[in-house]
Structure formats: C-alpha cells, structure tokens
C-alpha cells in the first residue's frame, strides 16, 4: 500500500558520493531524501523552521542589546543564587543546563533500545527524559517567579536596559513551551512503546500510518533540538 512508498527506510541506493551524490539525489525526479522516511524528513524540516524562529528571537535580542544606550543588566549577578550564605553566580542556569543535557543522553539511549525492540528499557528511559524535562520547566518556573518578585517586567527592571525583561521572557518562555510540549509527547510515545504499538505495527490515530520504532527516533530529534536551542540560549543570553 501507500505505506511502502511513505515509510520505506530500506538501504540507500548506490550513488556517487560527495557533491555528485547530492546532485543525483536532488535531480532524480523522485524523492530527494532516498533512505529517509517522510516522517523523519518532515521533522528535520520542521526543526529547520524552528531554528529560524529562535534565530529571529536571538537576533532581536542582539539588536536591542547592541543599540541601547543604557547598560545591560549583568546576567551573572541577576541569575546568581545565595545557597548557604554564599552567592554563586549563574548556578541555577548551570544546573538547568546539566539537567537538559542529561535528558538528551537518556533520550539517545531510549532511541537505541527502541530499535533493539527492548520495550521496557526504551519506555523507562523516555519517562526519565520526561522527568528531567519536567524538572527543567519547574526550575524555569522558579526562576521566572524569582525575577518577577524582584521587579523584572517586559517593560523594565531594577538593574538597567528595559529590553532585558522582554528578551528574557520571550526567549526562555518560548523555549520552556517547547520543553513542555516535548514532555507531553514523550509521555504519549512512551505509553505507545510500552503497549507494544510499534511491535504490532498498530496504526496511529492521527496519520493512520503503521507504528514503527522510528517514531521514537523522530521524537528524539525534537527533544535533542530543544537541548540544542538551550545551548545557544545559555551561551548567548546567560553567558554573554
């Protein structure tokens, strides 16, 4: 049926390597991505579009920060926490970074166990990933609360350039939303794995396509992307 054309992930046809191979793939009047299923290709293209969205956010942040006459608040001090009497700069953000990286590690292993048809391990690792993600969002909630209590608003803050608040809420808010949706879909996918939907090739309720373990990998692509975006936010917003 149509499944064959849409979900075929068989071996790649032998083609020239390098630029000639790219030209051959794209000019063949067939599918450009030979051994990549439509689901994975579409996830990559969605992630590409999402890259542009976050690029625009970070670019507008760069623009307002470069063009303001008022000094930018020092993120190292703004995000410092006092634990046991000592003030440690940026510590909450550092912990959040490690949590998100760990969640990426468990997700990568969940994909691996999925392809080995190890249902329990794959689903368990995905739930651990979801737990890390939920922890991350919780810590972000804590951070937002702390900053709002200290008087940070999208239109102003006690320390410097007013654009700080709008950039902060916009960028971290959008990222947190992505994490939240990731957690929801992780829970849904892990339930499907545990139930054996991908062993039975049960059809999905939305696309009616046969379930297969590649769905775990596609879910993983989204989750790693969320981690990837955080790498850029951490470097450009918090550390700069």
């Amino acid at each position: 049926m149509a499944d064959v054309a849409l979900a075929n992930t068989g071996a790649a046809p032998t083609r020239p390597s390098g630029w000639k191979g790219i030209a051959a793939d794209w000019s063949s009047d067939q599918r450009a991505f030979k051994n990549v299923s439509w689901g994975k290709a579409m996830m990559w293209i969605f992630l590409l579009s999402d890259t542009f969205i976050f690029s625009c956010f970070l670019l507008s942040y760069m623009t307002v920060r470069m063009s303001t006459r008022v000094p930018w608040p020092n993120p190292s001090k703004v995000f410092a926490l006092t634990i046991g009497g000592t003030t440690i700069p940026l510590i909450l953000i550092a912990i959040m970074t490690f949590i998100l990286i760990s969640s990426s590690g468990t997700m990568a292993m969940a994909v691996n166990f999925g392809y080995r048809h190890d249902r329990v391990k794959s689903a368990a690792l995905m739930l651990v990933t979801a737990a890390f993600g939920a922890t991350f969002v919780g810590m972000q909630g804590f951070e937002w609360t702390k900053l709002i209590m200290e008087g940070v608003r999208p239109w102003g803050n006690p320390w410097g350039a007013v654009q700080f608040g709008s950039s902060f809420f916009m960028i971290t808010g959008f990222h947190g939303t992505h994490v939240t949706f990731g957690v929801i879909f992780l829970i849904i996918t892990s339930r499907k794995v545990l139930r054996g939907d991908f062993d039975r090739e049960a059809r999905g309720f939305f696309t009616s396509q046969k379930g297969r373990y590649e769905i775990v990998e596609i879910m993983g692509l989204y989750w790693h992307f969320v981690d990837l975006v955080w790498v850029f936010i951490f470097a450009l917003f918090y550390l700069w």
Binding site: L47, L59, T97, N112, Y115
Partner: protein, 111 residues
C-alpha cells in the same frame, strides 16, 4: 511488504558512544560555566563561549541526532540554511550600530 523483524533497522550504535558524548557535553558545559565563574572578560571570554557552544551543538547534532550517519543530501539541506542566518546577523550588527549612533547623537550618551 512485510519487513523481517530480524532485519537491521534504523540507527544501531553502541550505548558507549552515547555515554562518551554525554560525558563530553558535561565537560564542555562545565568549561563554559567556568568562563563565567572566573569572570573572564573581553574577546577571550566571547571566543571561549562561542567555541564551547559550537562544540556542544556539533556533538548533539552529529551523534545524538544521528546527522553524521545521514545521507549528504539531507545533511546539506538541513545544515546549510541556518548558516545563512549569519548574513542576517551581519545586517543587524550594522543596523544596531546605526541606531545606537543616532540615539547618542539625539539623546546623549545615556546614564
């Protein structure tokens, strides 16, 4: 078309690979945090931050997202367009310099 279950399916890599990458991501994150902790400044700070950022992003995309094993046609289709964002960055650097210049010219040098 029924695929045999025993057929090699999808991406198969040893778990150790993921653990090694995970470890490196921890090391690189620690390094970028230490840049802030020790309060480095100026071009040294910025180049270190960007270096660690690019290394981390590369590891995640190449290994965790399996881009290193994908076909070149997909790799180029996904990885080349974001590079073009750098052109946008260049445009906005000029634009914000100009905005800052006009603000200083009309409103003074700020606080």
């Amino acid at each position: 078309m029924v695929q045999a279950v025993a057929h090699v399916e999808g991406q198969q890599h040893p778990i150790k690979l993921y653990l090694v990458v995970w470890g490196w991501l921890f090391v690189l994150s620690t390094c970028s945090y230490l840049v802030d902790y020790f309060g480095l400044h100026g071009y040294f700070r910025w180049s270190l931050i960007l270096l660690f950022m690019i290394l981390k992003a590369g590891l995640i995309v190449a290994v965790f997202m399996h881009m290193a094993w994908e076909r070149l046609a997909l790799m180029y289709a996904i990885l080349v367009p974001p590079v073009l964002v750098l052109v946008f960055v260049g445009i906005m650097v000029f634009e914000s310099d100009y905005t800052l210049f006009t603000r200083i010219a009309f409103f003074g040098a700020g606080k």
